[in-house]
């Protein structure tokens, strides 16, 4: 299984169309590095993206440099995946 240790999901609340456009640019800059769980659609909807640990600093710098406010929705994806696998194994037992 692919390991997602340290990968995070960031939730961004874009204020306007310009900020959404910056997020779309990010998708273009790192098409295989940033995985949009909820893509940039409109300012009223949050944008969620999974960022690999290796890209976290770059991506957070990009967001901060453009004034894009974000929160960490999932701190470490692998922790949740481990819990999920354990729950499945427990259910089987």
């Amino acid at each position: 299984q692919m390991n997602f240790t340290g990968d995070q999901v960031l939730r961004i609340l874009a204020q306007n169309e310009m900020q959404l456009s910056l997020l779309r640019d990010l998708e273009g800059l790192k098409p295989q590095k940033v995985d949009f769980w909820r893509g940039p659609a409109r300012p009223s909807l949050p944008v969620d993206m999974r960022v690999p640990f290796s890209e976290l600093k770059d991506v957070k710098d990009y967001l901060e440099s453009h004034g894009l406010a974000y929160s960490v929705m999932i701190e470490d994806i692998q922790v949740l995946l481990d819990q999920e696998r354990e729950a499945m194994a427990k259910s089987r037992r």
Binding site: V9, G39, I74, I77, A87, M88
Partner: protein
Amino acid sequence: LERSTSSFSYSSYHTLEEIYSWIDSFVTEHADLVSKIQIGHSFENRPILVLKFSTGGSERQAIWIDTGIHSREWITHATGIWIAKQIVSDHGKDYILTSLLNTMDIFLEIVSNPDGFAFTHSMNRLWRKNKSNQPGIACIGVDLNRNWRSGFGGNGSKDNPCSETYHGPYPHSEPEVSAIANFITAHGNIKALISIHSYSQMLMYPYGHSLEPISNQEELYNLAKRAVQALYEVHGIKYLYGSISTTLYVASGITVDWAYDSGIKYSFSFELRDTGRYGFLLPATQIIPTAQETWMAIRTILKHTLRHPY
């Protein structure tokens, strides 16, 4: 493998093998109402299975429900399994469902993307697309919800095979899509189609590829509103509703646009629960509450379809 549906845990997630084994047991235990149909093979040659709920008769009108076209959205497969059980247990008790099954059939495809789903269990839990590949192209997979003929290749889909929203080389190029399209077209009497995704807490209708309202906009808007209210009354979860392009985003080549353009008026797409904390990794403890509320919304759509023949 779990060998009978009584020992199956509906409040846990399951592998493809477990689900297919459950399907076999489920069909055997409820042979008077449920049968299994294979509508095709996936790219990696896995069977694509559909449960048919029918009280008999031929050339009946029908409802189509699919879950799991995006393989990482595990809550949708789990919801589909629970709904199958609910249809069986409600038949003969719930007057809406009983009336519907007296005249119509229900087709339920629980794993629309079996290759992708198997891959989420074996290699990459967060895989979204199918597993098809093309010679000379390094990236694998097509977004099966961008591969449909309606609006194919337009805004909200990508021609880059490495993108998560890659639309594929041509409409219905993917066996998982063509299997459904061929089945529905050959059937010719599907009156409602419900395609289930996660996670944004929304109930939506066409179009995705265009901001233009459909001709049945008002009816579908009011139906979505009632369905969302029915859902809310179960556990107090609020859903947004409206057309896909105005509620979520512009997306081209999607299932419900194709369904609507193919004459299925009651075409809806669900985005199941978003707790704002887990995304696609919704804890298994939320499977049954999610399924319960989703079923009540679906039931509202079924009731409307039954009472508004076209």
